[in-house]
Amino acid sequence: MSAAPATTPLLAVRGVRAAYGKIEALKGVDIEINAGEIVALIGANGAGKSTLMMTIFGRPRARAGTIEYDGHDITGVPTHEIARLRIAQSPEGRRIFPRMSVAENLQMGADATECTDAEREAGLERVFALFPRLKERIAQRGGTLSGGEQQMLAIGRALMSRPRLLMLDEPSLGLAPLIARQIFDAIRTLNRQDGLTVLIVEQNANHALKLAHRGYVMVNGLITLTGTGGELLQRPEIRAAYLEGGRHG
């Protein structure tokens, strides 16, 4: 646990349960994310990774347990108010606004949190520095972008709300390996240069664990393993379950 400083975590999820109707998706989950960390959450399909991320964001609501963010209890707080606390989310499947231009998509990210023009400009510059491709395509409709560009736009849109905690759901989904690497590089840059705290949900365990300081492994709505990214990568059960045939080293 070398990367974890001994302070109160930025986000603490304790004993959280959540369900869709009668199907319980989270069965008492505990995770902690310290400020400045990249934390990876890995697991198979249907393990509850995305649900955990969405529950942190208020929908579906936690049926039990507490979620604390920066000292506030945000369990049961409406989603739009959580966003105002500078938690941003890039949902699974990118979900950019296809008929709106790149500029409008980015502006949508800034709209939810009242920000000054200067802050908006600074945010745009940061996004364009990370993803110069978006600047080239600024007037294009979101739907006309390639998959990788759409993912860049989704992350850029989330960044426009100037978050302290960025939650990314499967940012490498459906992307060519080279593009996925660019996305992961951008996340690393954001973490190192801006001190952004990142929670990344991934199926691409190899990439995610190499990027992350720490990782959690989720199985059937429960956290079964935790450790630093390097430690988890060495575990035989992880390698068997998630890295079969994957490159390692």
Binding site: R99, A103, L124
Partner: protein, 441 residues
């Protein structure tokens, strides 16, 4: 959604003559099944009350043949002019001419609209018709906020039109309030009903929302019919005061506008006044909508239309976003209703049937959802066109049906499907969104 895919390849499009014949045969078969009972067998009550029937296989064969031939022609036309081959058919100069016309169409239309009472001063019929068209333009623009921008399919828009009309009619006849006091009240009341409708349907989308709004429209109409003591039931409300020009009545009396100006009285004065009134109200609707689109709330409406989940992920309060869309659209419907009441002088539930909702929705969809100019053009075409075909009363629904089918084949996003972005960051944009084709999905 194939948003990322390249343009559809031509090879993928079935185009051989075998395909066309097969399609025509299927159409002919459907026609045969449909028409064999509708046309092929004619039944009538005989003199003794018994059923007599005879067959008309000749007519049936002719109709099926027409469908077969028509299907081939439509398919051939589609292949020549269809959306797939648009670029190769329309030459460059024509394209630039169209875009030039597009840029000047809106200002030209506006100037023309302002001049209508001057040009057609003597033609009462045209003045009446233009007032009607403008009313529908305003209704279309109002509904455009809900359907076009926020993407909430509302089949009961006429309810707000009715609320506005009855608000003015009842407040004016019972309390003697003037049009200018009632106009904002009608808007507020309609907006209130918009919010009231909005609350139960917050969780609904698409088809389900359409059904509930449809029912809402009917509920309002049924309440109006049955609440005899207040609304007069099916008899309606009559003797609704005409609007005054800020207190000056437009009539034959001594303190009327004509007498004060020392000119001869003419009933046309009132028509001209009504024309400019509805023009101003419609333009206000347009202006407000355009302004709202550039504000965060308007952007949130459009984002909501695109992807509700993404909106929530961005921390947009989808509840207030939906309710404001409903309220804003309803408010404009209420304004238009108040205008309708004062123009007619008499209102009854018959004016607020589902047909009206459908008509306004058709105007919005055909015009291109979200496009202000498109909605205005299609209101002009629909209402004006309806009048144009008044002579061929029997066929006008047929003509409009065909026109709608053709429009949806060639311009599936409506007359003006293009959407102008509202956020600009750089002046020197090298790639315009128009030049990049969006995958159809």
């Amino acid at each position: 959604m194939s948003a990322t895919s390249a343009r559809p390849s031509h090879a993928a499009q079935p185009s051989g003559s075998a395909f066309i014949v097969k399609k025509a045969l299927i159409s002919a078969l459907v026609a045969l099944v449909l028409f064999s009972l509708m046309i092929g067998v004619r039944t009538e009550a005989g003199p003794q009350g018994g059923l007599i029937y005879w067959t008309r296989f000749g007519d049936l064969a002719a109709l099926v043949g027409t469908v077969f031939g028509g299907s081939i022609i439509v398919e051939l036309l589609r292949q020549w002019w269809g959306p797939v081959d648009k670029d190769s058919i329309v030459p460059k100069p024509v394209q630039s001419a169209i875009s030039f016309a597009g840029r000047w169409l809106a200002p030209a239309l506006l100037v023309f609209a302002v001049l209508v009472p001057v040009i057609f001063y003597d033609q009462r019929y045209i003045l009446d018709l233009s007032i009607l068209v403008l009313t529908y333009v305003m209704l279309g623009w109002g509904l455009n906020v809900v359907v076009g921008l926020a993407g909430l399919l509302d089949l009961g828009y006429v309810a707000f039109y009715a609320v506005g009309a009855y608000s003015y009619a009842l407040l004016a006849t019972n309390f003697g309030l003037s049009f200018w006091v009632c106009l904002p009240l009608a808007g507020i009341l309609a907006a209130f009903w918009g919010v009231l409708l909005g609350f139960p349907v917050l969780r609904l989308r698409g088809d389900y929302l359409a059904i509930v709004t449809l029912a809402f429209g009917e509920i309002i109409r049924l309440v109006i019919i049955n609440w005899q003591s207040l609304t007069g039931g099916p008899n309606g409300v009559s003797g609704i005061p005409r609007p005054t020009m800020f207190g000056i009545p437009l009539d034959n009396s001594d303190n009327g506008l004509a007498a004060r100006l020392g000119i001869e009285f003419s009933p046309t004065h009132r028509l001209v006044f009504l024309f400019y009134l509805i023009l101003a109200m419609a333009l206000l609707t347009n202006w407000v909508t355009i302004r709202l689109r550039r504000l965060p709330i308007g952007r949130a409406w459009e984002a909501l239309r695109e992807d509700e989940v993404a909106c929530r992920a961005l921390g947009i309060n989808t509840t207030t976003t939906k309710l404001t869309a409903f309220a804003t659209g309803a408010m404009f419907g209420g304004f238009a209703g108040a205008f309708f009441a004062t123009r007619q002088g008499f209102i009854s539930p018959e004016s607020f049937t589902f047909q009206e909702s459908a008509l306004v929705l058709a105007i919005v969809v055909l015009g291109g959802m979200g496009s202000q100019l498109g909605v205005a053009l299609s209101a002009l075409a629909m209402i004006g066109g309806f009048e144009l075909f008044r002579g061929f009363d029997q066929y006008r629904m047929l003509v409009f049906g065909i026109a709608m089918v053709l429009l949806m084949i060639w311009r599936p996003r409506g007359l003006i499907g293009h959407r102008a972005p509202t956020v600009y960051l750089e002046r020197n944009q090298s790639i315009s969104s128009d030049l990049v084709k969006e995958g159809h999905g």
